[in-house]
Amino acid sequence: MDRIFWVKCPGCANRFYCDWTLRRAGFDLICPFCQRTFLPDESPELDERWFGHG
């Protein structure tokens, strides 16, 4: 599996993860729990740690 990052939904506060290609692709993410759409940078929490990337 390629690099992922975790986000927290600004609507329902549930967390899910996305493929790294979505990090700056300009596409809205879709929360699987409440269907809210948002950009990664709108997430109140981002976890971008990855092997060899801190």
């Binding site: 549930n14 993860y17 493929d19 596409f27 699987p32 729990f33």
Partner: protein, 477 residues
Amino acid sequence: MPKDLSGFISRICAEFPDQVVSVRRPIRAAEFEVSAILQHLDDAGQYPMTLFERPINMLGEESAFPIVSNVFGTRERCALALEMPPEQSKLPLSLEFARLERNPIEPQVIDAGEAPVKQVVQRGDEIDIRRLPIIKHFEADLSPVITMAAVMKDPDTGIYDVSFVKGFPKDARKAGVSIHTPHLERILAKYEQRGEPAPYVHILGHHPAFYLGALALTLYDSDDYHTIGGFLREPLRLVPSETWGNDFLVPADAEILIEGEIPPGERTVVDPFGEVTRLYQAQCLRPVLDVTALTHRRGAWYQNIFSGHQGHWNLGSIPKEGSVYNALQRRFGIIEAVSLPMSGCGRLACYVSIHKQREGQGKEVAIAALPESWGFEVIIVVDADIDVFNERDVLWALYTYVDPTRDIDIIHNYTKNVFTSAFQGSRILIDATKPLDVAFPEKYRMPPDVMKRIDLDEWIEAGARWLRDRAPTGARP
């Protein structure tokens, strides 16, 4: 009668009724209830073919289509699908699979009037894919997901490829489609390079031999419709599609077909979805499907794979075991059996048993097995007296025979695994055969002549008769 899913279900119900369970109550497919039933069965170690007779669809309506899941739940049922006796469901099944993939049969084209899948035809505004009983499987899935396979056609050579895919319904006639097999990706890339929409047909329900044939490890330029015929042991019946006519043929004996086009370059957000490894696939971008037609049988079954469970894993292991066995046996001549175990999701681990003749052969076989599948993370080689289909046996050999300092090797800077994050670019090879180059303890055994002489059925009987015979007379039942 041509082979189809309905016929297979009828056969299992008639001949193996203990392998079938039914849910007759209305059940909300899009709200995890179907997968909750399947998970409870899995937790109990039960994998019957499971029929849901009254599923509620995404629109909150009772769907016209009953669901069947766990068709591939046991190797015995997979053997039956390939016309083999269930007791030959270990290596003989895998070897037969490897034989069938080299015996294609040319398909047969029939008229639409004869094709069961054309009994009901919907186009344009008549279509709403959300009327299908699409299952939401796991808590963090983005949406209900259509499983099973799709067919696409190479625009240059005209060959058809059938591969497993996922569909994420977006509205009545639009879905995101997760195309993640090399052959379908290659076909889609060709259409995108031409700037043309790619024809795509989702095949929801067919005889299990159809799907097993679709998993055959064939070259890109072989036509899957021919290969699948070999697995069905009869010509696959095809019929012109609604959208492209004779230019795109579709399986006539399928249960449900969703025809559509993938616009070049268009992408939509799909996933998470609980995948084969029991991890969620990360949210990502995938192609868009514009649905053009939906055709089905009257009374069609909606077939589903319970992702990350035994049926899904069987679909990974059975197609590969035979080819790995054949490749290793051609080279070494000492191979007893090959298994891709459930603990490795039928993809990540490979157990090989050998008739070891000299020290070092376990490692040689492990090295040779590794490139046989890009999914392998761990190869374990054991002696021939270890049943590779019995994980307890294999782990016993691992814990009893392996000296970590010399028998475990880690390969670094290997290809990154697509299935999991843990094995970034490493692989593990384990020689769990008994050492031959040192004075090593012997595994115990019973005298074979005594084991052969003592027939269990003659010697034991059910129940606690000893207690009953010794109970006070008045206490006897």
